[in-house]
């Protein structure tokens, strides 16, 4: 048998999977189209599950995700606020395996676009006909002077959920009475536009109960942020005098931190702080850069199919993509994944392709039973995913509506995680 690149790669995969992950089925369906999905979050898990489910075995789907337990970023603020257990936002991949997805727990370390292969840290090389990249975010080096990833054990970002969330929660709970919690908020665009401000609400909720003379300061490089009026009303009503937001106008973008001294300098004024939550500027997860499909910090895509504008065999989902108007959120990634799954099936099996429809809703919790939301629908244009309609909670809503909004968010969490991970 002539040993060409393709047969070599297929054998390479079979051998590697046997060695590194015994539960993975041997990949010997050489005739079937192959999809490799990198990243098992709201974009990747949903795409893998929908492609496997809807192709009914006609497409081999491999999901590459380093973690065996995935903690959702959404609702991780509620964990910090004491409204959820960490275990309640952790999800394993058993449901996807049951649903016919070949889940490989490894790091993707390279993409050869000419050969259409992905190499993994464990040594395996995977062939693909279509590659779906949904790696989430990484941080821009040097974005916050004085901070780099080695500082994250003193000044956590907690913007990837799990151990970072645990650290930040523990730090908040052990603040001295009357101490100072500081946040360095990120510049646009970033994952979860209301996220930093929901987090402030959750930290304030904890401090109000246990440490009511504590202070919260936010250094923000932006002049405004999502749901700003709702959060500011909520902070004034529930945490009066506790929260000090320093926006662009007052030097909120001119910061420097020192993790050893636990200091934060805002526009030249140095403050000693007890907790410093640094959320740096963000960029697409590194694999997008390695694949050579980024422009600037993000990977541009065609709106109707989520295909990379650089390589039509690659789709990019969620936070990593530059797609237009959708906020970088779990809901957005889940919505984009379904459009992508349909386009991938259409390309590989000739199944029907319907017009792309996208939607997003971001719920935020301000205090106990006090939920707000912002949402929109989006459609594809030549240029981008464009917002066409939307709504936002109003200031001054009554307690019953706010409680119903919170309960709705709890229902949504159960819904989207079942949609991502199967059951």
């Amino acid at each position: 048998m002539p040993l060409n690149r393709r047969t070599f790669m297929v054998k390479g995969v079979a051998a590697a999977t046997v060695l590194s992950a015994p539960h993975v089925r041997a990949d010997n369906h050489a005739g079937k189209p192959k999809v490799v999905v990198i990243g098992g979050g709201a974009g990747g898990a949903t795409a893998a599950r929908y492609i496997a489910k809807d192709s009914k075995g006609e497409i081999d789907v491999i999901l590459v995700e380093p973690s065996r337990m995935y903690y959702t970023c959404f609702f991780s603020n509620l964990y910090i606020g004491g409204f959820r257990e960490l275990s309640s936002i952790g999800h394993s991949y058993g449901g996807l395996t049951k649903g016919g997805v070949n889940v490989v727990h490894d790091w993707a370390v390279g993409v050869d676009r000419a050969a259409k292969t992905v190499s993994l840290a464990g040594g395996a090389v995977l062939n693909y006909d279509r590659l779906v990249l949904s790696p989430g975010i990484d941080f821009v080096d040097g974005a916050v002077p004085g901070w780099d990833v080695t500082s994250q054990n003193k000044m956590p970002h907690a913007y990837k959920a799990g151990s970072q969330s645990e650290l930040l929660k523990a730090q908040v709970e052990s603040m001295p009475q009357g101490g100072t919690f500081a946040m360095v908020a990120p510049p646009n665009p970033f994952r979860c536009p209301p996220g930093p401000y929901e987090r402030i609400s959750m930290v304030a909720h904890v401090l109000k109960e246990t440490n009511p003379t504590a202070k919260i300061i936010i250094a923000d490089p932006k002049p405004k942020f999502s749901k700003m009026a709702l959060f500011q009303e909520g902070w004034a009503d529930n945490y009066s005098g506790m929260v000090d937001w320093i926006g662009e106008e007052f030097g909120g973008g001119n910061v420097e931190v020192n993790a050893d001294e636990m200091t934060l300098s805002i526009d030249g004024e140095v403050t000693k702080v007890d907790v410093c939550n640094v959320i740096p500027a963000m960029k697409a997860g590194r694999i997008c850069e390695l694949a050579g499909i980024t422009e600037g910090n993000w990977a541009p895509v065609h709106a109707a199919t989520m295909q990379s504008r650089v390589d039509e065999n690659i789709h990019v989902l969620g936070d990593a993509s530059a797609q237009g108007d959708m906020p970088k959120s779990g809901f957005s990634a889940n919505s984009q994944a379904k459009v992508c799954a349909m386009a991938v099936r259409g390309a590989l099996t000739g199944s029907k392709v319907f017009p792309a429809k996208f939607s997003n809703t971001c719920w935020s919790l301000i205090d106990t039973d006090n939920g707000v939301k912002v949402g929109a629908t989006y459609e594809a244009t030549d240029e981008k995913i464009a917002k066409v309609d939307g709504f936002i909670s109003s200031t001054g809503e009554d307690a019953a509506l706010r409680k119903a909004t919170f309960e709705e968010s709890v229902g949504w969490y159960a819904g989207i995680t079942a949609d991502m991970f199967g059951s």
Partner: protein, 238 residues
């Protein structure tokens, strides 16, 4: 008239869409680059972009979503203040009408401009202006950045036989929140409803008789066929 025309062509277009490559469902406002030339009509009185300030006319950063007469510190005409108090907020359609004929919308505006008769010029300047208002990627509640087609279909909606395969596809949007196994936690179950009840409920959201904003939004862009397809799918779901 335009909405009427789009409703006439929408049905055959949808049928065609089922079998071809992804189609674009919304239109970009216009060509922002071409809009920079149209802006020359405006720039004698208005500034826009970083560091813009008000002069003869108010600066136009953040004009989309701003109330008429709403920029603090600018001395507006009585007409613009009155319309602002009446609830006029600058949206794509309102700005389009104002630019076509300023005095038709606000009779005593001090903006001495005859208006842009050509639709393309208005589309292009609106696309140009939109770049300097909030970006929905960062501020999700920011105003829309594209036009979608208004859908109005004939009244025999209950007679439509839903395509449950199409329904299954569309349902992926519903199952982000409504659980497919019919669980009822914070968000109600939508499985196994009689088709007619489902169709009636969705149309009630669509015309905003039912109050829930998420559902109004979701139903608002579904065609009658799509609602029928969803009803067919969810009724028979195992």
């Amino acid at each position: 008239m335009l909405a009427f025309l789009t409703s006439q062509i929408r049905m055959p277009a949808l049928a065609a869409l089922l079998f071809v490559a992804p189609q674009l469902a919304a239109e970009d406002i216009g060509d922002a680059k071409a809009g920079t030339e149209v802006w020359e009509h405006c720039s004698a009185c208005h500034q826009i972009g970083q560091g813009a300030t008000s002069g003869i006319g108010p600066h136009l950063n953040g004009i989309f979503g701003r109330a008429a007469g709403g920029l603090e510190g600018f001395d507006y005409s009585k007409g613009l203040i009155r319309e602002g108090n009446n609830g006029l907020v600058w949206s794509l359609d309102k700005l389009d009408a104002y630019l076509e004929n300023p005095k038709a919308l606000v009779s005593d505006t001090r903006m001495s401009f005859d208006g842009l008769e050509t639709k393309k010029e208005r589309d292009d300047i609106l696309a140009f202006l939109r770049q300097f208002s909030d970006n929905p990627q960062n501020i999700p509640e920011a105003p829309p950045t594209a036009r979608t087609h208004e859908i109005v279909l004939p009244p025999e909606v209950l007679a439509i036989v839903g395509d449950s395969e199409y329904g299954e596809y569309l349902a992926s949007e519903c199952t982000t929140c409504h659980q497919i196994d019919g669980a009822n936690e914070g968000i109600p179950s939508i499985t196994h409803w009689p088709q007619e009840d489902f169709v009636v409920a969705m149309h009630a959201y669509k015309v905003k008789v039912r109050p829930h904003p998420v559902m109004q939004m979701m139903a608002g862009r579904l065609t009658d066929e799509e609602i029928a397809a969803l009803a067919a799918y969810f009724e028979k779901l195992e």
